[in-house]
Symmetry: C2
Subunit: 155 residues, 2 copies
């Protein structure tokens, strides 16, 4: 038996859910007419096998589990909704539309100010029930990281 008392409040899940709202808020700023201010840009990693993710078949074949996108200057049609966002990005010169639920995001990183959020990967393949809960037993993974701890996202 573990010594640590069980977290019956599910603080980890509450904090992760709350901090996914930061990603949504950041995307809303990016979607505003003026776009991203200053040098701000985003690296966003997400599970391509997560329920609700929609990416073209060739990208899914290349990244069957996880992929990272960069939102800098060349994004368009960015539309952040309540539970997912859509965006069009160029891959090899071809524009492709992606639809990404916030719950599929594993990492959000803005290198300009080294702001990093990491999320527990929610194990939820597309054919699994949507109600799979976040594990409450693992150490807290969603946290704003100090600048000196932030590492560049894998491109």
């Amino acid at each position: 038996m573990p010594d640590k008392p069980k977290d019956l409040m599910n603080y980890e899940g509450l904090a992760q859910e709350a901090l996914r709202g930061v990603v949504r808020a950041a995307l809303k700023k990016a979607a505003a007419p003026k776009g991203l201010p200053g040098e701000h840009h985003f690296y966003i990693s997400f599970r391509t096998d997560h329920k609700g993710v929609s990416v073209p078949a060739d990208l899914l074949a290349k990244y069957p589990e996880e992929m990272t996108i960069v939102l800098r200057q060349s994004y368009r049609d960015l539309a952040p909704g309540e539970t997912y966002f859509t965006v069009t990005l160029e891959f090899g010169g071809q524009p492709k539309s992606l639809s990404i639920p916030y719950a599929s995001i594993t990492r959000f990183y803005d290198p300009s100010v080294q702001f990093l959020l990491q999320f527990e990967a929610v194990e939820m393949p597309a054919d699994a029930p949507a109600a799979t809960p976040l594990s409450a037993a693992k150490p807290l993974a969603a946290k704003p990281a100090a600048a000196d701890k932030a590492k560049p996202a894998a491109p």
Copy 2:
């Protein structure tokens, strides 16, 4: 001039605002008919001089800047709203009602699982305008702390 680029996204403010939602969610669980599960209980510190805080005059005289309340078994009439919560607690055997905006909270701690959230004190005395922004230049203060970093709240 500082070397660090200015955070034009106000990530600190976004994260703080998001994590105050964790306090609200925790209080909503505490307000449910079954009350707090297991050994969970809360130490909540807040600025008594914050706009919207309502505490009896004798408590305000004793704690003109900040006070910490404990929600364990003896709270009642706990009502968490969207922007503030109200609760009745006993002080020296006398029941007293408090009304506490989430924005006034500086610290939330659950000793049972050593879950700690700390918030930048929003410098907002009761007679100041409500629009005082959070400073974006200071290091991120709202963070779920690892268990080994958590310290017991001052009673």
